[in-house]
């Protein structure tokens, strides 16, 4: 039974990846655009004279395999994907997309994991407390702003933070991932550099944390209402367990599980939101790179990045789905 669940869930994961990569391959090619030609004609326009553009394009087309029939291209594309070979950038030739991703993905991973964990933990506990201590006026008052926060997209809130803390009252930098203009940076062993990274990361991180924290808090509050009515809560109280034990081990533990389901379902939305936050703050992560690739129509980077994002999100969902039954003994593998 367990094995059957794991196998079918893994199959689902591969179908996700397969659908995504097929869309990524066919959509741009079926519309008959030629990114290489576009690039070289752009260059020719910019630089004045460029000799034998057609021949150069043909040479590059051979490099990218565009001269081969479509099914053969598709096959090569898929085989390369299984080896995580995403090809070379068109504009930053001859850098590979993997190299470019390697430079940026660390920023995105750090930002998303850090903000995700902080927001989930604090939000869940705050939401639980909001329902648990109904006579605490501070928590009750925070309900309304939370409600509003939870509804606002990350990057809209980010724009507000940017206006307030970077322009109206300029205390924090709102552009980039670290202080630029110093030769030799990024240098992770230097303290000044680390300080500037933290400073630059504060606003993007805050715009994600505050919004998603509010979302988790609202969800948790709703769950706590149900949990508080359960028989085992009455039993815990009747046994005379201390309030803290009742709260953490009985109420929070049981209400947190649906939150994890919510997390698995919302990962796609969270990733989309993260990309836009990076764009707003010109953060040197994957979102920022994707944005500049869109600007200059570097299709190799766009397609590679989109694949990596789809892959990462599907993988994270898979992991959550796999560990969910381990955390919640009420859920059995394959009992869907």
């Amino acid at each position: 039974m367990v094995l059957k669940y794991i196998v079918s869930r893994l199959a689902m994961f591969f179908i996700s990846i397969f659908v995504a990569s097929t869309v990524i391959f066919f959509l741009p090619r079926l519309t008959g655009q030629n990114p290489l030609e576009e690039k070289f004609y752009q260059e020719a326009q910019r630089g004045g004279y460029l000799e034998d553009v057609d021949e150069i394009v043909a040479a590059f087309e051979e490099q990218y395999g565009f001269d081969k029939p479509l099914y053969q291209q598709y096959f090569t594309f898929m085989v390369n994907l299984t080896r995580f070979d995403l090809g070379r950038s068109i504009f930053s030739w001859p850098k590979t997309v993997n190299q470019l991703l390697g430079e940026t993905i660390i920023w995105t991973l750090a930002l998303s994991l850090l903000t995700g964990v902080i927001a989930f933990v604090i939000g869940t506990i705050m939401g639980a407390l909001m329902e648990w201590k109904r006579n605490n006026s501070l928590l009750m008052v925070s309900f309304f702003p939370f409600m509003i926060w939870a509804a606002v997209p990350y990057f809209i809130f980010g724009l507000v933070l940017l206006t307030v803390f970077s322009f109206a009252w300029p205390v924090l930098p709102g552009y980039g991932g670290y202080q630029t203009g110093v030769v030799g940076w990024p240098n992770w062993s230097e303290l000044d550099f680390l300080v500037s990274v933290v400073k630059h990361g504060t606003l993007p991180a805050l715009s994600i944390i505050l919004v998603s924290l509010a979302g988790w808090a609202m969800g948790m509050r709703g769950m706590m209402v149900t949990t508080k009515g359960e028989d085992y809560m009455l039993l815990a109280e009747a046994k005379g367990l201390p309030g803290r034990v009742q709260f953490y081990r009985y109420a929070v533990r049981n209400s947190t599980l649906p939150q994890l389901t919510g997390l698995a379902l919302q990962l796609g939305l969270i990733v989309s939101g993260l990309l836009l936050v990076e764009v707003v703050f010109a953060y040197p992560g994957v979102g920022g790179m994707l944005y500049s690739a869109i600007r200059i129509s570097d299709h190799a980077i766009i397609q590679g990045t989109v694949f990596v994002l789809a892959f990462g999100t599907a993988l994270a969902t898979l992991i959550l789905d796999m560990i969910y039954p381990l955390i919640d003994p009420r859920i059995k593998y394959g009992a869907t």
């Binding site: 659908v19 741009p28 655009q33 997209p153 796609g268 836009l276 764009v279 707003v280 944005y291 600007r295």
Partner: protein, 331 residues
């Protein structure tokens, strides 16, 4: 919906002053409207959400009807004329003076921001409503097919839905937009369609599970035993009971679609010349409005977007309560 708007037996009749003057003869009023109003009094979130969106709509309508400016040639222009780029060319610098000529200021391109918002908010809403309607429609049809056909058809639809949900919609939209219209963005209707293509898996999953639950209910089996056909059961027995779920998924889908359009337009992949809210954000970022100190240009669209999302969120939370009575607040 029937069970959701039953009159609350515990509500005391003396609290409602308006009831005294209510027409006693109108049975529709007593059976339908009055209980709905009573219920709404308890479902404060829904009322608040409706009020916020209503106020926004009122502002837009008033501005459509009464806001006029004279342009460069001394001709009077309504919001439509004022919202196009370079409508007030070079006449004035981007500026803000709430008591002056332009209540919300003007932007870098000489557009009147109030006019821009008046035209742009309905446009953005239209994308959201249209995309969500198509998405929910497709999702609903697939949900019914899946739940009724069973077997391998059900399996295929389920696998498709489950495998599409974990893929972030925005990145697929980026591929669609960059592939279909290289160099330019999608126009407003194309954008709605592109978003609709990605909007159906969520609703399909939710509605399918509701249909499966409902099919086993007593009243559906009763109808089946009395010889009602499948279509009759779907439309006469199930639809009225599914309505709150469908409405709740619709509002959620509208929120998602508006989020997607604003996101994709901010990236510059929408029609950057259309006066939508997302295109406005694109220009604000592209032209560095904040760096130039033009904070009023950002403030107004942000305000409208926040109102829009908060209103929709509250209605959605309120509808959840209708659909799932267990969430209902104790009086």
């Amino acid at each position: 919906m029937d069970s959701a708007i039953q009159p609350d037996p515990s509500a005391t009749p003396t609290t409602d002053a308006t009831e005294v003057g209510a027409p006693q003869t109108s049975s529709i009023y007593q059976e339908r409207i009055l209980p709905t109003l009573r219920y709404l009094r308890r479902n404060r979130l829904m009322v608040l959400g409706l009020t916020i969106l209503g106020a926004l709509a009122l502002m837009i309508i008033l501005s459509y009807l009464f806001y006029r400016q004279t342009d460069l040639y001394g001709e009077e222009q309504g919001v439509d004329g004022l919202s196009t780029a370079l409508s007030v060319p070079a006449r004035i610098k981007p500026s803000w003076n709430p008591w002056g000529e332009f209540p919300l200021g003007t932007d870098e391109q000489g557009r009147d921001i109030l006019a821009h918002l008046t035209v742009g908010t309905p446009l953005t809403l239209r994308i959201g409503l249209l995309a969500a309607a198509i998405g929910i429609g497709a999702g609903m049809i697939l949900a019914f097919i899946s739940a009724y056909a069973g077997g391998w058809i059900d399996a295929i639809i389920r696998v498709l839905v489950d495998s599409l949900i974990p893929i972030p919609g925005l990145v697929i939209l980026i591929i669609i937009a960059t592939a279909l219209t290289p160099g330019k963005g999608l126009n407003v209707d194309q954008l709605a369609l592109a978003i609709a293509v990605l909007a159906w898996p969520g609703p399909a999953r939710v509605i399918r599970s509701q249909v499966l639950v409902m099919r086993e209910r007593g009243y559906v089996q009763m109808a089946r035993m009395s010889g009602t056909g499948s279509l009759g059961i779907i439309f006469k027995e199930m639809m009225p009971n599914l309505a709150p779920y469908i409405l709740a998924s619709y509002v959620a889908a509208v929120t998602g679609a508006i989020l997607a359009t604003i996101g994709i337009e901010t990236l510059g992949l929408g029609d950057i010349d259309a006066p939508t809210l997302g295109a406005m954000l694109y220009w604000i970022i592209e032209l560095g409005a904040l760096l130039k100190g033009q904070w009023w240009w950002l403030l107004s669209p942000i305000f409208v977007i926040v109102l829009l999302f908060v209103g929709l969120f509250m209605i959605s939370a309120g509808l959840d309560e209708v659909a799932n009575p267990r969430l209902r607040r104790r009086v």
